[in-house]
């Protein structure tokens, strides 16, 4: 009896900060109600705006746009056409409106992630100390299960699309930071030296040499961010974000395979289209496609 602690982890060492953290978040949410609700209203405003914008585009125009973009980035008509067919299928599944809702969450959270991730990436690239701190933080953010982001988002912003945007933003901003700083740091040494040798100031060097030279890598970051957001937006149905994810969640709860399949395939289609379009534009920029 006395030597139980050898075999079992002793009760005395158990310490659970979980509830303390919960209290902390609640406290935070109470203290910053004003700023939180300001963030929320801005997000909602953006979401509504984007959704209205997407809704204004007739379905056939959106399909034509995708066909054209596919041709522009892939250099072949049939590639664009394939994307158009994929989009058309989503419509035939009866999921057009839900797709637009999902798309608007993605657009908002990705634009926020880019607006936040790019400057952070620049700072990380420029400052060794910031990099030392950010590296483990970003590792942590990328490894932690994505579900975990849902809870604080829901605690701070209740349910709906705003916490979905926030959770998606936090989850998808990491590759943008990482690849921006990676791209800037790995610009050819002599090209950077040339920039300095001709008398560039630090800002001139950054914006006329380093960022343009790093653009292919930064665009890969954009692509990665979109893909991460695609993954997260489905999970966000758990905190009440409407869209394709919600459809899958409902079907899962009712164990209706057929009903879950259609939105699932739609998500795959959107992911393929977004991925290929962004990657195609990267290849075009870096000049490897010629």
């Amino acid at each position: 009896m006395m030597y139980d602690w050898i075999l079992k982890f002793p009760q005395a060492f158990v310490f659970n900060p979980g509830s303390a953290i919960d209290d902390g978040i609640r406290q935070f949410s109470r203290n910053h109600r004003a700023s939180l609700s300001a963030i929320k209203s801005v997000t909602v405003w953006m979401l509504n705006g984007i959704e209205a914008l997407l809704g204004m585009i007739p379905w056939w125009a959106l399909i034509l746009l995708v066909i054209w973009a596919g041709y522009k980035t892939g250099r072949r008509w049939w590639i664009g056409f394939l994307y158009g067919v994929m989009l058309f299928f989503i419509g035939t599944f009866g999921l057009w409106k839900l797709m637009l809702e999902t798309l608007s969450i993605i657009v908002v959270s990705v634009s926020l992630a880019l607006a936040l991730g790019f400057p952070m990436g620049v700072v990380v690239a420029m400052n060794r100390h910031v990099e030392t701190v950010m590296q483990p933080v970003m590792d942590f953010m990328q490894t932690i299960p994505s579900f975990v982001y849902l809870i604080p988002a829901a605690m701070l912003f209740s349910v709906g699309k705003t916490p979905a945007v926030m959770a998606t933003l936090i989850y998808s901003v990491v590759p943008m930071i990482r690849l921006t700083s990676h791209g800037i740091r790995h610009v050819d040494r002599e090209v950077v030296e040339a920039g300095i040798a001709f008398g560039s100031s630090r800002l001139q060097l950054l914006f006329s040499v380093q960022v343009p030279q790093a653009l292919p890598t930064i665009m890969t970051g954009v692509n990665q961010t979109i893909m991460m957001a695609m993954g997260m937006v489905v999970t966000c149905a758990l905190i009440g974000a409407n869209g394709l994810g919600m459809e899958i969640l409902v079907a899962t709860n009712r164990t209706e395979m057929g009903r879950a399949l259609m939105p699932g395939v739609s998500i795959v289609f959107i992911a393929i289209i977004l991925d290929r379009l962004t990657q195609g534009s990267i290849r075009k920029r870096s000049g490897k496609d010629r």
């Binding site: 050819d188 040339a194 040798a197 008398g199 040499v209 030279q213 653009l215």
Partner: protein
């Protein structure tokens, strides 16, 4: 001394550069006379440049040569402060570059010193014109003016018609032309060239060397030229410095180095070079021992040759002008024929050269004739002769 100072554009004084953290310890070990390797082992500090001093005169090309890791690239990067020297002075037009503040340094790089890189350092997000105009862009020169001047430089390096092409479409030689045009576009006083032609194939390299020399002649720019190719250094440099392990082993004109290498390392380095491309006739010519006048009689000629123990005599006119040679055989025949002077038996088609001609250029002429070559000054006076033996010994 004062005359020298007025010509000197760049003067590097006791330049040192350490890489690593524990630099104070390294400096101390260096003062105690420790070697580079010992310092690296004990302190982890690399002594890249160790007490380098040299002067570069305005309008001249200074070539710095050494194997990789000898510190030559670090030296040139210290001149425009791409790397901050650990100690020493870099006087440009008499002002110490090391002590300049940020603004002065920008100004220096924008208008006084520019640089050409080994792997070109071109920006592939700009086209040829955009790259050449980069320096002016940084200076804030307006678009019209910028492009007009960039076009001038593009024409100077022979790339007209390519100004709107992408950098990725150019060959190595053309890329470096862009690099040179970009460097010249700011109209700098000093051009730093860090192994500019090392990445080019031999043919393109020869073209570019020639082109750079003619551009330099046209614009009179001062150039610090880094290379690991001794032939290139000797071809380009008015003065050459040979570096090893962060030190300059010897400084001098190509001829000085070729004639009197300071130590075995330099000698070893020079062994790989073709001396006939550095040394000129002046360095191997000797004074002819047997001179006779055109009016001399055959007996005098024979006597002169006997005394000097040679079989040919050099015939000169009243003003020391070279006329030809008389062989011993011809002189003996002339005596038998009872001729009164040697003037009718002079061999007049002796090959003649000036004293500045490179040895490499006379090998052909020397092998076609049985006589030594006559070295004449620009007024046709005999300065000396070059025997085939002398040419052969200069080849070894």
């Amino acid at each position: 001394m004062s005359r020298e100072n007025s010509d000197v554009l760049l003067s590097v004084r006791h330049l040192r550069k350490f890489f690593g953290i524990n630099r104070t310890a390294a400096r101390k070990m260096l003062q105690e006379g420790a070697g580079k390797n010992d310092i690296l082992k004990k302190t982890g500090v690399t002594v890249a440049v160790n007490d380098v001093s040299f002067d570069v005169e305005r309008g001249k090309i200074f070539a710095l040569i050494g194997l990789s890791g000898s510190g030559k690239s670090t030296v040139v990067r210290c001149v425009n402060m791409l790397q901050r020297p650990s100690s020493g002075e870099i006087l440009f037009e008499g002002r110490d570059v090391v002590r300049m503040d940020k603004r002065e340094l920008y100004e220096l790089r924008r208008s006084k010193i520019s640089m050409v890189f080994q792997s070109f350092g071109l920006m592939n997000h700009r086209n040829v014109l955009g790259n050449v105009a980069y320096g002016l862009d940084v200076r804030g020169v307006g678009r019209g003016e910028r492009e007009r001047r960039a076009m001038e430089m593009i024409e100077l390096v022979g790339l007209e018609g390519w100004e709107n092409k992408s950098i990725d479409d150019l060959s190595g030689g053309m890329k470096q032309r862009v690099g040179i045009a970009r460097a010249l576009c700011n109209d700098p006083e000093l051009l730093l060239m860090d192994e500019p032609f090392s990445a080019l194939d031999p043919l393109a390299r020869r073209d570019m060397q020639f082109e750079l020399l003619s551009i330099q002649k046209k614009l009179g720019k001062t150039i610090v030229f880094i290379t690991h190719d001794i032939d290139e250094a000797f071809k380009m440099g008015d003065t050459v410095g040979i570096m090893r392990d962060g030190r300059v082993e010897q400084l001098g004109t190509p001829t000085e180095l070729a004639l009197s290498p300071a130590n075995d390392y330099v000698r070893e380095f020079l062994n790989s070079i073709d001396k006939t491309k550095v040394l000129s006739v002046r360095h191997i010519m000797i004074t002819p021992s047997c001179l006779i006048r055109e009016q001399a009689d055959p007996l005098t000629a024979i006597r002169e040759m006997r005394v000097n123990d040679v079989s040919t005599a050099y015939v000169i006119g009243r003003g020391m002008e070279f006329i030809g040679i008389v062989t011993l055989t011809a002189a003996l025949q002339a005596r038998l024929d009872k001729l009164s002077s040697v003037s009718s038996i002079i061999t007049r088609d002796v090959p003649q050269v000036g004293h500045d001609v490179l040895i490499g250029d006379i090998i052909g002429a020397a092998s076609d004739t049985p006589f030594p070559l006559a070295v004449l000054d620009d007024r046709g006076r005999l300065e000396g002769i070059v025997s085939r033996a002398a040419i052969l010994s200069s080849l070894s």
